[in-house]
C-alpha cells in the first residue's frame, strides 16, 4: 500500500503497581497505511487495547511506555509534549470504545458532547456549530437528528448510542480511527449495521481504521490486514485472506476453531484449554507453550520472534512459532483422525 500513517516499532508498556509490575505489551511492531484497515485480534488481557491506548497517549501515570519508534504522520508520539499530543487527539487520531453506555457522559446531551469536538477541532461557533452538530448525527444515519441533539445518552438505544459515539469521534475529521471492540456490547444485527456504517464512512473519507476485537469473525469481512495478539505480543500478522486460508500460529488455529461457522457442526467447536500466562514475570519460553498441542523442546527454551511463514513469495505472512505451517496442519489432521468422535445426530 501507499503512504504509512502510523508506524509502531518495538513498543513496550508496563504497569507499575505497588506490589507488582505487569508487562502488558512486550515488543509490538505494526504499521497502518493511509486508508487501510487493520484488525487486531486477541482475548482480553492480550494487550491489544493497551497498545492502542499507548498510541492515543491515554494511559495513566502508572504505565511506562517505551518504543523504538511511535510515529504518526511525521509526529514522534514518544517525544511530543502532552499538549501537542492532546491536539492530535480527536483531530488526527480518534478512538471509539466498547460500551457506548458508559463511554458517553450521562450528564450532557449528545449535542453538547459532539459540539465540543466541533468547536475545539473545527473552530465552529454559534449557528454553524449547531448545524454541523445536527449534520454529524445525520451522517451516522440517526433519524430526526434535530430532536436527538437535545437528548441524553440514556434516551438512546445501544446501537444509536454507538452511532452517536462514532459521530462524535469522526466530527474532528481524523485520519485514523481506532475502534476498540465497537460492536461487542451490541446485538448481532446492530453489529452488522455499525460495521457497515464504519465501512461507508471510511470510503467517503479515506480514513484509516484500527479495529480491535476478540472476534475473528468481525475482522474477516472488514480488515485488509490482521494482527493476532497473545500475551502482549503480536503472534501472527498477515493479509486477512492469507490468515484465514492458512493460519500459521497454533493460537490462531485455536481461535478459528472456536468460531461458530455455518458450514460446520457446533460439536466441532473447540475452546483452547488453559489460560494465558502471568505477565508480571519476565518470560523466556513461548508464552503459548503451556496451552499448545504442538510444542517442541525449543519452545520452552526460547520465545520465537515473528518468522516469515508466507506460502507464496512476495506476500506478507509472519508468525511467532518455531513450527512450519504444514507441520502444524498435518499434526492437527492426524490428531482429528485418531480421536474417535461421536457422530452428531441428524
Amino acid at each position: 500500500m501507499s503512504e504509512t500513517l502510523l508506524r509502531v516499532k518495538n513498543l513496550h508498556v508496563r504497569f507499575e503497581g505497588q506490589d507488582a509490575v505487569v508487562h502488558a505489551v512486550r515488543g509490538v511492531d505494526f504499521e497502518v497505511a493511509r486508508g487501510e484497515t487493520l484488525g487486531i485480534v486477541g482475548e482480553s488481557g492480550s494487550g491489544k487495547s493497551v497498545t492502542q491506548m499507548a498510541v492515543m497517549g491515554l494511559l495513566g501515570p502508572n504505565a511506562v511506555v517505551t518504543a523504538e519508534g511511535l510515529d504518526f504522520d511525521g509526529h514522534d508520539l514518544l517525544t511530543t509534549s502532552a499538549s501537542a499530543q492532546r491536539r492530535l487527539r480527536g483531530r488526527r487520531i480518534a478512538m471509539i470504545f466498547q460500551d457506548p453506555m458508559t463511554s458517553l457522559n450521562p450528564f450532557l446531551t449528545l449535542g453538547t458532547q459532539i459540539a465540543e469536538v466541533l468547536r475545539l477541532h473545527r473552530g465552529l461557533r454559534g449557528r454553524a456549530l449547531r448545524r454541523a452538530t445536527i449534520e454529524a448525527l445525520a451522517e451516522v444515519q440517526i433519524p430526526r437528528p434535530e430532536l436527538r441533539v437535545e437528548q441524553y445518552p440514556h434516551e438512546f438505544s445501544g446501537g444509536m448510542r454507538q452511532r452517536a459515539m462514532i459521530a462524535m469521534m469522526i466530527a474532528g475529521r481524523p485520519d485514523l480511527l481506532i475502534a476498540d471492540e465497537p460492536t461487542t456490547a451490541l446485538d448481532v444485527t446492530v453489529q452488522a449495521q455499525i460495521l457497515e456504517l464504519l465501512r461507508e464512512l471510511q470510503r467517503e473519507r479515506s480514513m484509516s481504521i484500527i479495529l480491535i476485537t476478540h472476534d475473528l469473525g468481525v475482522v474477516a469481512g472488514f480488515a485488509e490486514r490482521v494482527a493476532v495478539m497473545y500475551a502482549g505480543r503480536i503472534v501472527e500478522a498477515s493479509a486477512t485472506e492469507a490468515l484465514f486460508d492458512a493460519p500459521a500460529h497454533p493460537y490462531t488455529r485455536g481461535l478459528l476453531a472456536s468460531i461458530p461457522r455455518l458450514d460446520r457442526d457446533v460439536e466441532s467447536l473447540r475452546a483452547i484449554p488453559g489460560a494465558p500466562p502471568d505477565l508480571s514475570a519476565l518470560l523466556r519460553e513461548c508464552p503459548f507453550r503451556p496451552r499448545c498441542a504442538f510444542a517442541v523442546k525449543r519452545c520452552a527454551e526460547e520465545e520465537p520472534g515473528l518468522l516469515d511463514r508466507a506460502l507464496r513469495p512476495g506476500t506478507e505472512h509472519r508468525a511467532a512459532c518455531w513450527r512450519e505451517v504444514h507441520e502444524v496442519a498435518a499434526l492437527e489432521a492426524a490428531a482429528a483422525a485418531a480421536a474417535p468422535r461421536e457422530e452428531p445426530l441428524r
Partner: protein, 310 residues
Amino acid sequence: MRHFLGFLLRRVAWLLATLWLVFTISFFLMRMIPGGPLSSDQATHPLILERLEAKFGLADPVATQYWRTLKDLVLRFDFGPSFKLLDYSVNEILAQGLPRSLALGAVALLIALLLGVTAGVVSALRRGGFLDRALMLAATIGIALPNFVIASILILIFVIEVPLLPAAGWGGYRYLILPAVCLGLPFAAYIARLTRTGMLDVLGQDWIRTARAKGLKEQRIIFGHALRGGLLPVASYLGPAVAGILTGSLVIEKIFAIPGIGTYFVQSALNRDYTLSMGCVLLYTALVSSMNLLVDISYTVLDPRVELDG
C-alpha cells in the same frame, strides 16, 4: 410537566402530614405533664394561675384545646401567645428571629459549599499527594470536632489575640463572619470528603477517557465533564446538611449571642415556654422538609437520568 406537578403535590402533602404529626405529638406530650403546663417550681398565686389558665384556655377539655390550637394554626397561621414572654405572641418572636437565623444559616451553607467543594476537587486531582493528605486530615478533624470547640479556638484567635472581629451580638456583616465560619466548617469538611469520593469515582469512569480521547483540555474535562457527576453525592447531602446547620445554629447563636430562633428555642426549652417551643419545632420541621424537597428537585436538574418520584 404534569408529572412534575403531581410530584410537587405529593411532596407537599407529605410535608403537611409530617407537620401535623409533629404538632400532634408535641401537643399531647405537652398536656401529659402532671400538673399541666403552668406548674412550676415556684408557687404561683392561685389567682394568677387562674387568670393564666383562662388566657390559654387550659380549663377546656383537651380535645377542644387541640382543635382550637390546630384551627388557629391552619386558618390564621397563629401559634398563640408565648407562655413566658407574656407580652409577645409566638408569631412575633419567630418573625423577629427567623431572618437572622436564615442569614446565618445561608452564609454558613455557602461557606461550607465553597470551601468543601474546592478542597474536595483539589484533593481528588492531587490524589495521594501531600495536599490531598493534608486536606483530608483537616476534613477528618473538622468532622470530629464539635462546632463549639472550633468556635472557642477561633474566638481565642480572632477576637482575643488578634482583635479583628466582634465577639458577639448582631449588627453588620462583621458580626456574621465568625459565627457563619464556625457553623459552616464541620459541613465544609464533610462536603470535602464527599466531593473527593465523588470526583474520584467520576474520574475513573469510561466517559472521562472518552473526553480525553476527544482531545479536550484538562480544565474542560474537570469542570465540563467530571464536576457535575462528582457533585451528585454533595447534592444528596444538602438536605441533611441544612438540618445539621439548623441544629448547629442553636449552639452558635448561643455562643455569639445572636437573637435568632435558635436562641429562642433553647431559651423556651429551658424556660418551659411550651407554645414558643412548639412553634420553633414546627418551624424547623417545615424548614428541613422544604429544603429536602428543593434538594430532590435540584437533583433531577443535575442528573438527567433521575426521575421525580415519591
